[in-house]
């Protein structure tokens, strides 16, 4: 029997009995049914599986369960309850930045991680901030534009 792993998931204290070398991505999707966390590659290259791990953007496919004892994990399901999410969502809607949507939960969390550090990013800073998240649909402009709108219209939130 494995030792239980304790962590905070979207604000709630939870435990997992999965072994230490399992991927956080699989545990979130399979055990906690948090299917907003997407799997695009399982090798840390696409960012579709992004979550916030203690406030920092992380590819959950590259995070071993053994490393998250005591950590705080936020997925799109938790983040979508926040005012900041609302500001980003409104901005994405204005630029129609959601196409197929598969990269989007991860992309939104990348935007959050960026804005939390830098509430008024330049175009170049935004492009750098989301450069670990691949999007095949949009060409990225609509997303960059949305981050600027969110920063402007969500003033004070970050």
């Amino acid at each position: 029997m494995n030792d239980l792993i304790h962590f905070t998931l979207n604000g709630e204290k939870v435990t997992s009995d999965r072994s230490a070398n399992e991927r956080l991505l699989d545990v979130l999707r399979e055990d906690f049914k948090l299917t907003g966390v997407k799997c695009g590659c399982k090798e840390g290259e696409c960012g579709a599986c992004s979550v916030l791990l203690d406030g920092v953007l992380a590819n959950s496919c590259m995070v071993a369960m053994g490393s998250i004892e005591g950590s705080e994990v936020v997925t799109i399901e938790g983040y979508s309850e926040t005012k900041r999410f609302q500001a980003l969502s409104d901005a994405y809607a204005q630029t129609s930045a959601v196409q197929c949507g598969f990269c989007i939960p991860g992309m939104v969390l990348a935007c959050e991680a960026l804005l939390a550090k830098n509430p008024n990013p330049t175009d170049a800073e935004i492009r750098k901030g989301i450069s670990g998240n691949l999007c095949r649909c949009t060409g990225y402009n609509a997303i960059v534009e949305a981050v600027k709108i969110a920063a402007r219209e969500g003033k004070g939130l970050w």
């Binding site: 997407k38 997925t75 969502s89 129609s96 939960p105 492009r127 691949l134 095949r136 609509a142």
Partner: protein, 704 residues
Amino acid sequence: MQSISKSIPKRDHFPKISGRAKYVDDLQIEGLLHGKILRSSVACAEINEILIPDLPNGYFVIDKNDVPGVNSVHVVDDDTPVFSDGTVNYVGEAILMVAGRDLKVVNQILKQIKVIYHEKQPVLDMMKSDTIFYQYGYTKGDWESAFRDADKIIEEDFQTGYQEHVYMEVQGMIGSYENGKAIIRGTMQCPYYVHTAVKRAMGFESDKVQVIQEEMGGAFGGKEDYPSILGCQVAVAAYKTGKPVKVILDRNEDITCSPKRHPAKMHYRAAIKNGEVTGIDADVVYDCGAFTTLSPVVLQRGLICATGVYDFKNLRVRGKAVKTNTVPNGAFRGFGGPQTFFSIEMFMDHLAKEIGLDSVRLKERMVVKQGDDSATSGKYHFHVPFPAMIEKLDQISGFRKKRETFRHQTGRYRSGIGISLVYHGCGFTGSGERDLIKGVVKVVKNTDDTVELLTAGTDMGQGLKTVFAKIASDTLGIPLEQVIVQNPDTDRVPNSGPTAASRSLMVVGKLLQRAAEKLKQDWKPGEYQEVVEKYVHPDFMIPWDLSKFQGDPYPDYSWSANAVEVKVDTLTATTEIVGAWGVYDVGTPIDMAIIIGQMQGGFLQGIGYGSMELLGVNEKGVIRNNSFSDYIIPTSMDVPNLVTEVVENTYDNGPFGGKGAGELPAVGGAPAFVEAMENALGVNLHHTPFSQEDAMKVLEALKK
């Protein structure tokens, strides 16, 4: 801007951005089995024997002997097997499936299975293939005289590589079998293609097969034919096991065995007389891979596009699609057009140099206009807005001045700017809409006066649900909230045809508009009403004759003018894309932000195709780089200055003036990029993708 072009929030915005939208791998289904496919590790062989270990209880092996109908997947032809028929023809071909409750156990079983192959020499080079799947050709004018009387004949070879779709959501499907009925759900562009294929493989009647599209995480053509194959495989597995079976590919597996853009080799000749191009002779070969899938139609489009947007009076165009022992290629945004468009655009650049003109001057001089004959002796029936588009392109990119400035450069950094002019023919090629697809839509008014649009059209991110809803709401004069559009389910929707060929808005959207007009005239509040509308072929079209390869292959065309500017460091061969500008005519945009999003995403894919998306096959027929760490697509950092504009050129036969849009932007990026590179490097270039390594080779050769 027309009022319908004003953007609205996309219908699927919130479910997708909040992570609530369910893609096929997100569905929770009771008693589900996981399936994994055992794939060929060799490119060409007979299978002598398959050694299967004892299976634990509740685990199954599914193979060709379990197919209740015909062991073949109907695409255009029927040569693709559901499971290997005893031979394998490419690395990645499906041999059998293992299914069971625990995916880890399934994977262990898969590892223990041994396949004994009797290997044969694979054919990997398309030029050495001795199997021609399809060939077509056509002539126009008197090409023989043009070449006989020429002052000069120029000949060049061009080559284009694979391109992988990289939809972010891999291929995936769930099959179940309940009460004598096969139910297939998953990520797919064309539910009725899957329906037809499954019916045949299972030997079932139409009403015993149901296909449901789930939310789709991108496709770009990559989910046009492959879902028919996977759909048959999960249907057979569900039939055998009596349980729902889910197969989701791994990314490496997906890159290994799903279709790509056809690599092509093209030989072009031009006759030049008195400083004019008087004839073109093009000979093209497309590499199909091991099975035919959609190749006949891809090749047809490639040949139609072979002479680009120019009014050549004398032509000969020939092409063949050949078999190799590699992954079968299929549909990819542009569908055969990007290969030949690359060649003709590069060739025009080189011909201009021969003639002593700037390439843009030559292109402008020869570009087609309304009323001209098309290459296949059809007609350009409608206004071709190239002059205005080129002017607009100059305004936003400053290309005319830049080309002058870049002519005389010295020093370490060299700039270049390339221009491409391209089209995409809107709709299914040839007489397909009339003879094969015969699209039907149904509009239902419920007793609460909500209106549901029933079509087989799928939303893969391109915004179909939103634009269909806008068309209905505007036509009926009812609020958008009153219009319902759901993902198609073949038990509920009529066959309006595939979501492909940039046809959905123009063809299916038009049918919806007509149905909505009829409903409006007959609107009875509080009553249930239905209107069914069927495709009518435009009567202005010159009939398409495939045997002669003549006539109007498309009712109309969407046009684009593209510029890409680069700056090359001649010491390191690193290239910066300084800017990319595209101007598009897609008729009236039904939603401006959606159209701009399509143009930007497609343009970036086209630039990726031209510059970095390199997929290699080794001497054993194995794809060398089947992962995201090795197959590189553009990130947010690669083309920061990407500018797109539309010109409005209403197409009267489309709904509210709209025509095909989705594929067009993927066509012009590669030739514009590679012309920019030849501008900067001062040489003629002939292949795509043109990578940093290629630039290094050129620079080293120049040093010598």
